[in-house]
Amino acid sequence: MVHAPTNRELLTEPACSHNPAAKGGSAKKGCAQKAKPGDAQGGCAFDGALITLVPITDVAHLVHGPIACGGHSWGTRGSLSSGPQHYRHGFTTDLNEHDIIFGAETKLRQAIEAIARDHRPKAIFVYATCVTALIGEDLDSVCKQAAQALALPVIPVHSAGFRGSKNFGNRLGGQALLDHVIGTSQAPRQAGPSINIIGEYNIAGEVWAVEPLLEALGIRVQARITGDGRYEAIAAAHQADLNVVICSKALLNVARTMEERYGIPFIEASFYGSANVSQCLRQIVDHLVDSKLADLSLIDRSEALIATHTALMGSQLEPYRQRLAGKRIVLYTGGVKSWSIIAAAADLGMKVVATSIKKSTADDKARIEELLGPDGVLIEKGGAAEILDVIARTGADMLIAGGRNQYTALKARIPFLDINQERHHAYAGYEGIVALAREIDEAMHSPVWEQVRRPAPWEQEP
């Protein structure tokens, strides 16, 4: 049986710059996590595991638990598919009181069989929840037996919500791929240099703005882990030449473990902002040339591609630049995105005057400080009141944040743009910057602001 990693093992990711041990600190400390009752915001480990794995489009995602876990969120993820739609269905065992008292392993087995029979997915991912972990359901053995009986991969994901935060759940999802999927494909290796994209979820189709750039350079994407992902491709992810980790500390365990197991090196990159996109392409190209997987001409071709796209983007951005130049933004989002969006704003001539650093690593912070300049405000801890206070102090024109803070801004009559997973617009790649500019311009220059801020005429009388 596969050893299911403990929380401690998963919280001490050597490749993660959050980890004090990685910087010569105490190896035992790892990532201290403690959500504060009454104050905590955000999802649980189960939610995080779903975010990471649900974008695999041709598999069925079965939630073994009570209705809250599987009932609320199915079909709502912003990850798009270029083909299969299995991932859009919400499968759950919807446990009742009887199941909880007497155990629900039989029910789970029947649910797996029903999915295999009626839906014919490439695999079934089975998610543990708080309740099934608490009553001791043996997910590993049910999945193993079902896999043998059905001749179909059935993969347990040990994602009980109480194990930790959403970020930690991302890591649990990655761990399930390492334990059960990656490296299991016997398919013959395809020709030509290839990469895996890790930690990109194809929100609003973002990966489709980047893949054509790689294709144009003859670089094949072996596996998307996991946006618009396919089971077989991920099972063969060990055949790729390079892992490109996008905006994600949480899935570094996948990249680092693949380096150890299969000798695949990895780079960390971002698809937001032209400087970042160009740098990402150059890093990939450099690696392929250095390791003799591509000839030197790839460098010239990539530079030509970057120049073409940068020039096109520049001309498309011109009208927006005039309207947006000098505008001030407060950014409230996690980790890598906090600096990569700063770069995107720079493309538009906008200034980020404050940003959150709650989830950022020391490296991220250093980069943010450099990008923000001496007057930049770093927001240590969040909350609606703090965000509004920073906007007031900095005289910012706009808040760019996750959907959770949308109404924080709107109710305070402040322009807002959603940057997280439920938005409808793709901002990655060179095209994405233009879309971002259009959306910011639309939000900031809407005629509604003047109307909602103006008092009613009778309120203006002395």
């Binding site: 480990a45 599987g70 009181e97 909880i100 649910a111 896999a147 001749a151 930790g164 949308q406 109710k411």
Partner: protein, 429 residues
């Protein structure tokens, strides 16, 4: 991996698996009810995700900031018990925003492990004398008790048990126990109607004042409006207690018994017959004639029934809604001449079953969760229930009374009319 044939060739029982369920957690329902109490914060006793998942869907439906807190259960507290988490969460919430009410709701996790919520609240009051007077309602809302409307009813029951007490009748006051399917706009419609007969209505809960979508002066981390805790103490002293919806029948009966009030149960207010009966009753109780405004509105409904009956006649409708709403909508549709082809509650089936049983239907009635199904079947979807995330204005929607009847007749009539114009029905077709 050995390659064999599937273990059982017999079809596994369908009950083992829900596919695209439209059931929502009782804790979400409880939280929704609590949002209709002024200055409240619902606090879900569970893992962080219990709160986050409910919050996301409430925010998307109402397009409002939703106050909702968590006791953030982790591995240690799941093993050792969640008392300390409850106490810390309530003390933290009180310190941050001085709520007027905290509604402590259990989840499947904490009910399964057997946390004693009432005991934890007692210990909180001992440990924090400054919180001795903080109003706290404890709600048992484990997932396995049902769906949204059951959790909503549990919260209403807890609010009544915790705060309402018997006493001399307050003349002119009417209590309405408003069920989960009444939108904020419905609550306003009810209040207007009762006020038109000279009553002072108290709605439990009153979402019309908290989730109606209006821009206030200062953003608040608490429920902005609703019935106050002080008013909740008085709801057992009304001239009449009106219960809307069967899901609240037991809760209403308990209040009537405990506070010795006169109780009237109304299953729904979506069909002409039901609305007529209700308004007639109000007129008899109050001794006042039906105001001209409602007589006029009723004549508009009659006219709309005539205008729309061509399009409703013999149309087949498939519905997937929670029990109370289903009952109201079925009554409405049948009174318009439509035929109910399938009617599902989340306890009976899921959207996969709706998909299997809706072939040949002219219309689906369900939440936004059925949008993909409707598209794949090529059947128009009338969005009703929870959540509605792909249409605006849920805070203002009215589906009851003459105003609701008019609106639904016209909205549904338009959908069916458009369908007829697009696909003319040939004789025998």
């Amino acid at each position: 991996m050995t390659s064999t044939k599937p273990a059982s060739t017999a079809a596994p029982p369908r009950q083992a698996l829900a596919v695209d369920t439209f059931k929502h957690s009782p804790a979400l329902g409880a939280a929704l009810a609590l949002l209709g109490v002024k200055g409240s914060v619902p606090l879900l006793h569970g893992a962080q995700g219990c709160t986050a998942a409910a919050k996301v869907v409430l925010v998307k439906h109402f397009r409002e900031a939703i106050p909702l807190a968590t006791t953030a259960m982790d591995e240690v507290s799941t093993v050792l018990g969640g008392d300390a988490n409850i106490i810390e969460a309530i003390a933290t919430l009180y310190g941050k925003s001085k709520p007027k009410l905290i509604g402590l709701c259990s989840t499947a996790l904490t009910e399964t492990r057997g946390d004693d919520l009432e005991g934890a609240v007692c210990r909180l009051r001992q440990q924090h004398p400054d919180l001795a007077e903080l109003p706290i309602a404890v709600i048992h809302s484990p997932d396995f008790m049902g769906g949204l409307q059951e959790g909503f009813a549990a919260a209403v029951g807890s609010l009544l048990e915790t705060f309402a007490s018997p006493g001399p009748t307050i003349p002119g006051q009417i209590t309405v126990l408003a069920n989960a399917c009444l939108a904020p706009g419905d609550g306003q419609e009810l209040k207007d109607l009762l006020e038109a007969f000279g009553y002072q209505p108290l709605l439990v809960p009153d979402l019309s004042d908290s989730l109606d979508g209006r821009l206030s002066e200062a953003p608040s981390p608490l429920a902005q409006g609703g019935i106050s805790v002080e008013q909740l103490r008085l709801v057992g002293r009304s001239e009449q207690v009106i219960v809307i919806g069967e899901s609240l029948a037991a809760v209403g009966a308990r209040l009537a018994e405990r506070c010795h009030c006169s109780l009237t149960s109304i299953p729904q207010l979506m069909s002409l017959e039901a609305v007529d009966g209700f308004i007639h009753q109000l007129s008899r109780w109050s001794g006042r004639p039906v105001p001209e405004r409602y007589r006029r509105q009723r004549r508009q409904v009659l006219d709309a029934l005539l205008d729309t009956h061509f399009y409703f006649g013999n149309k087949r409708v498939a519905l997937a809604l929670e029990g109370d709403l289903l009952q109201g909508m079925v009554a409405f549709l049948q009174a318009c001449g439509a035929k109910v082809q399938t009617a599902l509650t989340p306890q009976i089936g899921d959207l996969a079953l709706l998909g299997e049983s809706c072939d040949g239907a002219h219309l689906l009635v369900a939440s936004s969760q059925a949008a993909a199904l409707a598209q794949s079947k090529g059947i128009p979807l009338y969005r009703l229930g929870f959540p509605i995330t792909d249409r605006l204005g849920q805070g203002l929607r009215v589906s009851i009374g003459y105003a609701g009847l008019l609106r639904q007749l016209i909205e549904l009539g338009n959908i069916l009319l458009e369908q007829e114009l697009a696909h003319p029905v040939h004789p025998g077709g």
